[in-house]
């Protein structure tokens, strides 16, 4: 990739600074004509993370992103992007932020390349002589180099989406915000987007990606924010979120009934499962469970923590379980699974 | 200051400034306070005005016409809004009567005078010998629609039949002026109440005149400078060369003087015109042109004449006298009678005075 060097040169965007936040909001609230779109959102996007913003349509994802980028004035609350307040200092920070918001917007009578050149002209970080190169690199990165001279109106839905992605990647970024980036993409296109996100992540660029597709977020993100009806219902590292709820240890053992009895004697809740037993870890740790079983002479073939799928975690966190699952079933591209 | 407040301030101040500017440009110019000037006697003011020579100046005069004239002769002469006048302070002058899409240009210098009509593309030259210079110049000046000249002539004509007084001061085109008021003597049978003439204090050039009729507070006719700048003018302004493609007519001064004798003081009122009476109740009698605007010719004339009759019957009232019968039309400042035998009598006078004048005209002719 030709842009690798450029992005590697972004100062101090290193991984694992751990405590630094690329984006943060405090008590963010937006009311549109009496309708509360976003209410009391405290968002934290760690630097270097890929944060998936998950929520059904109308849950306030896009509104939150638009406020983050200074496109919409919040009704209440504070926003910091890369350490500076937005929208007050938006002009200082936005050059380092790439974004694709609410679908791609381009002029149909210009070619893909000319559309990008027009946006590149407005990029403060690009010097005059770099415009052509930056546009070519961005086009190549999203796999549109071959269709660069085609008029935008002749593009397919997927090509349009990719051109939008290219415009977000015109200049070296420290934060890339993508609103539903895989909308309208075929399976191959979806994979391409995942690859681009992973690449950005490898280079230490923070990515905030919104989606209503659980599998999408599960596949690409390190962190998750779950929004429902304008309120953050959960946020944190993906692993933590998946392990939350009631932690369970799955133990494969031929001595199921004995094992259950032994554990119950030690006041550890457990029950029989098809090929072994399930142990509730609420009051104990996996090590203690295995030690107890081994001492009692039960054979342990394998022990592993049960991971709840994100789908289950999500359903647990939002009210409209039925709606959500319905939406997931109909909209998730099968090939993604 | 939040963006919303800033936006409101920007919109509010922008609209205020813009509207204030528009309002400012819609205000009539010269609304200054009346200047304080040393007192002057009416007679002295008139005498000095008639004696004054116009200095070199460039000015713009505007006409406000509330006469409400129907299509009668003379109406066309007032079909303009702006006159620009240039004067070199001596022999030469240039007057441009600006109409909306055409122009009448009069240029006069020591040796010749030109009139150019852009609508007809005709240039009329008047030349003269040394001998009849004086007469020729007089004629040339009469043709010029210079407002100050017109006002001075009016004062001269009305002086014997008027009570003259000075009524305060005024500021006209940014210059300090005396207001001279001419009121008809009680013996005058006129519909006019008074005529005021603003006379420049420094140069004694008339700057504006307003004609007031009985029963109205606003002038029915007002012609005055809105801009006046004293100073030498470019000599090129007073030269005229007819452009290629224009129809050029040349008139010798003595021919012109002869023509003038036939149509003295008649202006546009046709070839044969006479006046009855003097001063305020002067009645001008002429031949009614068939077209009403002085241009009817050939086959249309009959048709247009019938049109005119039709119009007259609608807006006028029948009148009879020793002269025969005709139609009387009233305007804001006076009236006119169009007789059946094709004469027209007009003046700033009541109807009976017009009838009497026509009777007198008949008597003269017999």
């Amino acid at each position: 990739m030709t842009t690798a060097r450029a992005e590697g040169a972004v100062p101090e965007a290193g991984n694992g600074s751990g405590t630094a936040l690329a984006a943060r909001t405090r008590a963010l609230r937006k009311v549109y004509r009496g309708t509360v779109a976003v209410d009391g959102v405290d968002l934290e996007v760690p630097e270097g993370a890929v944060v998936g913003m998950l929520g059904p349509n109308g849950s306030g994802k896009t509104t939150t992103i638009r406020m983050l980028l200074g496109l919409v004035q919040p009704t209440e609350g504070e926003i910091e992007l890369l350490g500076v307040p937005v929208p007050e200092a938006a002009e200082q920070v936005l050059p380092h932020v790439g974004a694709l918001v609410e679908g791609p917007g381009f002029h149909p009578f210009l070619s893909g390349r000319d559309n990008l050149l027009r946006f590149a002209a407005a990029e403060p970080l690009l010097a005059g002589g770099e415009l052509d190169g930056a546009v070519s690199a961005a086009l190549e990165r999203v796999g549109l180099a071959g269709a660069a001279r085609k008029k935008y109106r002749a593009y397919s839905l997927g090509m349009k989406q990719r051109l939008g992605l290219a415009s977000a990647l015109l200049a070296p970024r420290r934060l890339v915000v993508l609103d539903e980036p895989t909308n309208g993409l075929d399976p191959a296109g979806t994979q391409e987007v995942r690859r681009i996100i992973a690449e950005l992540h490898d280079r230490g660029v923070t990515v905030l990606v919104s989606s209503h597709l659980l599998a999408e977020v599960e596949a690409t993100c390190t962190h998750v924010v779950v929004l429902n009806e304008g309120v953050v219902v959960a946020q944190g590292a993906l692993d933590d979120l998946l392990e939350s709820g009631s932690p369970t240890l799955l133990v494969s053992t031929p001595d199921g009934p004995t094992a259950v009895e032994t554990l119950r004697d030690h006041r550890i809740p457990a029950r029989l499962a098809p090929d072994g037993i399930r142990v509730d870890l609420t009051t104990t740790a996996p090590a203690a469970v295995i030690e107890t079983l081994v001492r009692a002479g039960a054979r342990v073939d394998e022990a592993r923590r049960e991971r709840t799928g994100l789908e289950e975690a999500f359903a647990r966190l939002t009210h409209d379980v039925g709606d959500l699952v319905g939406e997931l079933d109909t909209e998730e591209p099968e090939a993604v699974r | 200051m939040g963006p919303r407040t800033k936006a409101l301030v920007a919109a509010g101040s922008g609209i205020t400034v813009g509207l204030a500017g528009l309002a400012l440009s819609s205000l009539p110019a010269g609304a200054d306070d009346d200047p304080e000037l040393p007192a002057v006697g009416a007679e002295e003011l008139v005498a000095s005005t008639l004696a004054a020579r116009a200095p070199a100046f460039a000015g713009v005069a505007e006409l406000q016409n509330e006469l409400g004239l129907p299509a009668v002769p003379g109406g066309e002469a007032l079909d303009f809004e702006t006159v620009r006048v240039f004067h070199d302070g001596e022999e030469s002058a240039r007057v441009q009567v600006e109409r909306q899409a055409s122009e009448l240009t009069f240029v006069k210098n020591a040796d010749e005078a030109w009139a150019y009509d852009s609508q007809e593309r005709t240039a009329t030259a008047l030349t003269w010998d040394e001998d009849d210079k004086a007469a020729a110049r007089g004629h040339a000046e009469a043709e010029m629609a210079d407002p100050s000249q017109a006002a001075a002539e009016m004062i001269e004509q009305l002086r014997p039949t008027s009570d003259i007084s000075v009524d305060g001061t005024a500021s006209v085109a940014g210059r300090a002026a005396y207001e001279l008021v001419l009121t008809p003597k009680p013996s005058e049978k006129t519909l006019l109440r008074e005529i005021t003439v603003a006379i420049d204090e420094e140069t004694r050039v008339p700057l504006r005149f307003d004609v007031f009729a009985n029963g109205t507070s606003d002038p029915v006719l007002s012609l005055g400078f809105v801009e006046l700048e004293l100073g030498a003018q470019d000599a090129d302004l007073f030269e005229f060369t007819p452009p290629d493609g224009a129809t050029v007519e040349t008139t010798e001064a003595d021919d012109a003087v002869r023509a003038l004798e036939d149509a003295e003081d008649a202006g546009d009122v046709g070839q044969r015109a006479t006046t009855v009476g003097t001063g305020w109740d002067t009645v001008v009698i002429g031949e009614a042109p068939a077209g009403g605007s002085g241009e009817g010719s050939g086959a249309d004339a009959g048709a247009r004449g019938q049109d005119l009759d039709g119009i007259l019957q609608q807006i006028g009232t029948p009148v009879t006298g020793e002269f025969g019968s005709g139609t009387y039309v009233r305007t804001a400042v006076g009236g006119a009678v169009v007789t059946e035998d094709g004469r027209i009598a007009a003046g700033a006078v009541p109807r009976q005075v017009l009838v009497d004048a026509l009777d007198a005209d008949d008597a003269d002719r017999q």
């Binding site: 630094a20 496109l71 004035q73 918001v101 407005a122 | 920007a10 899409a101 224009a246 605007s293």
Partner: protein, 313 residues
């Protein structure tokens, strides 16, 4: 790609307080010239713009040829629909616009006056409509806002783009008219309304002044159109509003009882372009028209600014 990045999994959800990210470099902005070039390139690659400009260039040619044929063929001046003849020129023979309509001096000015009544303002309204409302509806305005281009600068660039359209459109009309006139009648007919023959340099100067004045007039229309454009997402709304405003203004100008209102109406300046055919040129009307256009410009731009700085991107 399902493996979470090891470094990033150390969650900040439990972090006691957010750290401060590496400091940002000082604010930088894309150079204004580059934005202007990009805007102008965009405007003149739009097929619609090119079509209207072609029409504007063709109209003076058509008028000139038609008048020339009529005058030559019939021998008598035409007496219908003189271009640019205002009310009041209806009787008493054709005005100069007809008798000399094919000349290299009167044809460009007459064409400019005629087209300034409707077609040129509509061209500018169309450009203004595309500049904000059109970009908004395509979602392309967001691209520049995110770059970022500050909203004030965005408006400045958009207004400059409209200015270029106004200048090019009126320049094109005058140039096309002049070239047509020169081809048809040569340098004959460079005559002022006051009967003076004018030098070519003088004529060029006057035509240049006409273009400058027309540009300012059109910019006043453009500023109001930009304000409307900032309030809507439909470029058509802008064009229709401007068209409606012009028609209402012209109707109000015919009502003499509303004399007091006339100085507030933008089109009442238009007749003063005739003064450029007089000699010497009388600048009062033109100056008044320019001042009036300036007032409209201030009102339009401040409204557009107020709207664009508060609207959602």
């Amino acid at each position: 790609m399902t493996t979470p990045h090891p470094a990033a999994t150390r969650g900040p959800a439990t972090a006691p307080g957010p750290g401060v990210p590496a400091e940002l470099p000082a604010r930088r902005r894309a150079p204004l010239g580059r934005l202007l070039r990009a805007e102008v390139r965009w405007i003149f690659r739009r097929p619609r713009t090119l079509a209207v400009l072609a029409l504007l260039a063709a109209l003076p040619v058509i008028t000139g040829v038609a008048v020339d044929l009529t005058l030559d063929g019939g021998g008598a001046p035409v007496d219908t629909g003189p271009p640019g003849a205002g009310p009041g020129a209806s009787d008493g023979g054709p005005p100069i616009f007809v008798t000399m309509a094919a000349s290299a001096f009167v044809l460009p000015l007459g064409s400019l006056m005629t087209l300034l009544m409707l077609l040129l303002p509509l061209t500018v309204a169309m450009a203004s409509g595309d500049a904000l409302a059109g970009e908004q509806s395509h979602g392309t305005l967001r691209g520049w806002l995110l770059a970022p281009v500050s909203r004030g600068r965005l408006l400045l660039v958009k207004a400059a783009g409209v200015l270029v359209v106004a200048l090019v459109a009126s320049g094109l009309v005058v140039t096309s008219g002049m070239v047509t006139g020169l081809v048809l009648t040569g340098t004959d007919g460079l005559v002022s309304m006051s009967g003076t023959e004018l030098s070519m340099a003088d004529v060029l100067g006057r035509l240049g002044l006409a273009v400058a004045w027309a540009t300012l007039y059109l910019m006043a229309v453009g500023a109001v159109a930009l304000a409307i454009s900032a309030f809507t997402e439909h470029p058509m709304v802008v064009v229709v509003s401007v068209l409606g405003g012009l028609i209402v203004s012209v109707v109000l100008m015919q009502i003499s009882a509303l004399d007091w209102l006339h100085p507030f109406l933008l089109p009442s300046s238009l007749t003063s372009l005739v003064d450029l055919i007089r000699d010497p040129v009388s600048f009062d009307g033109l100056a008044e028209g320019a001042f009036r256009a300036g007032c409209y410009l201030v009102i339009g731009m401040s409204l557009a600014y107020a709207r664009i700085t508060t609207k959602a991107g």
